[in-house]
């Protein structure tokens, strides 16, 4: 019996997005942004939206698949899936869920999407103004532990302490995203380069994270179309196959009030071995990486946990030249990512990973055949996935 695996069983045949806006500047309702991204992804795939029969999203996306299917005149809805968990941890998981639905015969043509208008629906970076809090929040919020930065920085501080990470390692991650955004006209920070002094002089949000270590807040939407792998050649663009997708987290990652036993982690230690086993690859096979930047410290831990360098090597590995397309050892976040292209809850990173396989990125890595995405470090569940060209099957 062949091992159960998603490898090559589904392909991304269409990608689409809206214009990306600063928070509050989208001219359309969030739901309309979702529709626009999906219609654009279908146009890219050369299909009519009526042929979509499934939707997968994550992080409690507000755009209901039944309403989308009605709005777009989809002939039939077969699959409506939401990955549990907050943050961007579900980005690659949603793609895996869509592929699993296709592979199992539950659906034929599934759209993965994320629509987000923080200007219309509240900001992740702001604490909510309520008179009291109960449950686990009662043990953190009254102490001023309020935002995602506060929730995650103590994991990174502990990792930094254990491994002697220097601030320059985080600066290199931020600068790589900004450098790539200068090549990308879709990027919100296109035309806004970042140099070392600007990073160093920027204010602390929460030590040891500066302003530029933190993701943007944006409005927009992104979508991709998946079909069965054997159909991938019937579409206009070079086929981009899903080679692996995994989700989850380590033992008791969700232990309340910061009590997970293995604390200083991005939550990928148990995922990465499963990811590489499914793809039948290792870190040395990865040509280009998109790694979710909620905060740069999460990127650093994610990359260590996926085996690109050891924790002892981070100060040498995380230097700007290593992270830049086209020639770096590990070109990172080649669209500008969540720091400098757009914070579309990370799905933009998955679209960029597909572009690298199609060879259409604005910061293209030559001869890219294998492209990885790491989604949502430090939350639970997290996820990651690997895409490959036809040559990798």
């Amino acid at each position: 019996m062949t091992p159960r695996s998603l490898r090559g069983r589904a392909a991304i045949v269409g990608i689409g997005e809206t214009d990306y806006y600063k928070r509050g500047q989208a001219p359309h309702a969030e739901f309309k942004l979702a529709l626009e991204a999906i219609v654009n992804a279908c146009a890219d795939a050369g299909i009519h939206p009526r042929d979509i029969d499934g939707f997968a999203s994550y992080s409690n996306d507000r755009s209901d698949p039944s309403r989308i299917a009605a709005a777009l005149g989809c002939k039939e809805l077969r699959f409506a899936n939401m990955q549990w968990g907050g943050g961007g941890g579900g980005g690659s998981a949603a793609i895996g869920n869509a592929a699993a639905a296709i592979m199992s015969g539950m659906a034929e043509c599934v759209v993965v999407f994320r629509a987000l208008a923080q200007g219309q629906h509240g900001r992740y970076g702001q604490g909510t103004a309520v008179p009291d809090v109960d449950g686990h929040a009662a043990h953190t919020v009254p102490y001023g532990l309020l935002s995602p930065a506060h929730m995650f920085v103590m994991k990174y501080r502990r990792f930094m302490h254990e491994h002697g990470v220097r601030q320059e390692a985080l600066r290199a991650i931020a600068m790589a995203s900004y450098a790539h955004a200068q090549e990308n006209p879709r990027a919100v920070m296109h035309g806004r380069p970042l140099d070392e002094k600007t990073y160093d002089d920027s204010r602390w949000i929460v030590e040891p994270w500066h302003l530029y270590d933190c993701c943007l807040e944006n409005d927009g939407a992104a979508a991709m179309v998946l079909v069965a792998g054997e159909r991938a050649r019937d579409f206009p663009h070079p086929a981009c196959y899903l080679l692996a997708a995994v989700a989850g987290s380590q033992y008791r990652a969700g232990a309340p009030v910061h009590n997970t036993p293995d604390y200083a982690t991005a939550s990928f230690k148990t995922l990465a071995p499963r990811l590489y086993a499914m793809a039948r690859m290792g870190p040395a096979d990865i040509d280009v990486l998109q790694s979710y930047e909620n905060f740069t410290g999460g990127v650093l831990m994610s990359i260590v946990e996926h085996g690109f360098c050891s924790a002892a090597e981070v100060n040498d590995f995380f230097v700007l030249d290593n992270l830049l397309a086209p020639d770096g050892q590990l070109p990172l976040n080649t669209s500008g990512g969540n720091l400098a292209e757009c914070y579309m809850h990370g799905l933009g990173l998955n679209l960029e990973a597909v572009r690298q396989i199609r060879r259409t990125s604005t910061a293209q890595v030559p001869r890219a055949e294998v492209s990885m995405v790491i989604s949502g470090p430090m939350v639970t569940p997290v996820s990651s996935c690997i895409f490959g060209s036809e040559a990798t099957l």
Partner: protein, 145 residues
């Protein structure tokens, strides 16, 4: 009584059926941590079941409010209206001594710009919010002398 570490206006803790003994204990200046009545191990945050032996008969045991800084953060950017005039403040994650390595979150009292030292021993300080309705008490920390 000294004034609270953080300026007023942050959400107050509201006890639930799961953690009411903890909050009542703090009001009496006692730190109570959830402990399994069968396997006698501590766990935190509170849960309806012991994650080790699956016993649902859980109790509460008083422990000395001493521990060690496991991690920390100095917050500069205010994300709540109550903190606009606060300036920097410090949050610590403290491993409670002698309680199966459970951790609690609190503020580190003193100069917000003081050195923050992972591994340093800290002593609990009960911060009473007697004027709140309902009144509550937070567990804060200072470096042990």
């Amino acid at each position: 009584m000294t004034s609270p570490y953080l300026r007023p206006g942050l959400p107050a803790p509201l006890p639930s059926d799961l953690d009411r003994p903890y909050w009542e204990g703090l009001r009496d200046e006692r730190l109570l941590i959830q402990r399994c009545k069968r396997c006698a191990r501590f766990q935190w945050g509170p849960e309806w079941i012991c994650h080790r032996c699956l016993n649902v008969d859980l109790g509460w045991t008083e422990v000395e409010p001493r521990g060690f800084i496991y991690s920390h953060q100095r917050v500069w950017h205010p994300v709540h209206p109550a903190l606009r005039e606060q300036g920097p403040y410090v949050i610590v994650l403290v491993t409670i001594a002698h309680a199966d390595e459970v951790r609690v979150v609190g503020n580190l009292l003193g100069d917000p710009l003081q050195d923050l030292v992972i591994g340093a021993e800290v002593q609990g300080v009960f911060e009473h919010h007697a004027d709140a309705d309902p009144a509550y008490t937070l567990l804060q920390w200072r470096y042990a002398r």
